[in-house]
């Protein structure tokens, strides 16, 4: 073994499907996560264009949103309640996809998250996501006055 995986990568390795997709957790701070998915021919959704399947992009966005919720101060657990994904354009074949998710508000029970996914072109995103997640909060959780 070369070196111990970082706690962030341990988080990914504990999730079998994230591992199957080859996801890499690039950054994680309070309520924000950056995650990448390598280009892999097994994830192609349209053999004619060799573009990655929308489903694989959805899986990346869902995982990244979940990681953002888990990194929110006081969060102990989460599950997706609702996720909307808009596909703006096809991802370029051969390029990895990077998702950025932000948990912009959370109560003791619900977390609200938005995310974007880009290929190597930092301009127009490939897809955006907006979701509501369950929040299992510990005592550290700062309850918003709603």
């Amino acid at each position: 073994m070369s070196s111990d995986p970082s706690p962030a990568q341990q988080f990914i390795d504990a999730v079998p499907h994230a591992k199957a997709l080859g996801l890499v957790l690039e950054e994680i701070t309070d309520g924000c996560a950056v995650m990448s998915m390598p280009y892999d021919e097994r994830f192609i959704g349209d053999p004619l264009t060799r573009v990655i399947s929308g489903g694989a992009v959805s899986a990346l966005l869902d995982t990244c949103c979940g990681a953002a919720v888990m990194s929110y101060p006081g969060a102990l657990g989460t599950a997706t309640l609702d996720l909307r994904i808009d596909y703006m354009r096809a991802a370029k074949p051969g390029q990895r996809i990077v998702a950025r998710a932000e948990c912009f508000h959370a109560t003791r029970t619900v977390a609200f998250v938005r995310a974007t996914a880009h290929d190597e072109d930092e301009g127009l995103p490939v897809a955006t996501a907006s979701g509501a997640f369950t929040m299992e909060a510990g005592s550290r959780m700062k309850e918003a006055t709603t």
Partner: protein, 171 residues
């Protein structure tokens, strides 16, 4: 009015099964997730056999939310493609014998998908069926439902909008 003799059932079945095989067999991501489709006439049921790599929460354990989203999206997209293909085959405007891996029907593009997670996905097989609620010249709206043990206890549902590929190949 004279009616021509109906084709033997086996020939019709073989033609339809082949068209479905070509449609699905060419999509690597469908194979990656292990999704297959059962056909009864024009009705499709997507089947996602359980596999360890589909787990998102190893402690419960539960299926990954992204797997569920992908399963619903694939089912909706294939149902829409299949309904277009079916119509063309029935009208005789498309000869399924001309379909092969190099001559695939063009696939619709997903515009958006809204997934409603109703229950956590259990570590067992999942099923899904989609319904094309509207299919116009350019856009289609498709609803899809997924369940595990009981057809009446959905574990997730979704609505998606799709861009339909134009007949002349231009999008």
């Amino acid at each position: 009015m004279s009616r021509s003799k109906p084709e033997p059932v086996q020939i019709i079945k073989e033609r339809r099964d082949k068209a479905l095989r070509v449609l699905i067999g060419g999509i690597p991501y469908v194979q990656f997730l292990g999704i297959r489709f059962d056909r009864r006439g024009d009705e499709l049921t997507a089947v996602l056999p359980f596999d360890e790599k589909l787990i998102g929460n190893p402690f419960l354990p539960a299926l990954h939310g992204g797997v569920t989203a992908a399963f619903l999206e694939v089912t909706a997209m294939i149902e829409l493609s299949w309904s277009i293909l079916w119509e063309q085959m029935e009208q005789g405007t498309l000869d399924p014998r001309a379909l092969d891996e190099a001559h695939m029907p063009r696939l619709p593009k997903t515009i958006d998908l809204t997934v409603d997670y109703l229950r956590s996905g259990l570590p067992r097989d999942a099923y899904a069926r989609a319904r094309v609620n509207r299919s116009g010249r350019r856009y289609a709206s498709v609803h899809v439902e997924a369940w595990q043990d009981n057809r009446s206890r959905l574990y997730a549902q979704a609505t998606g909008h799709f861009l339909i590929p134009s007949r002349d190949g231009e999008r």
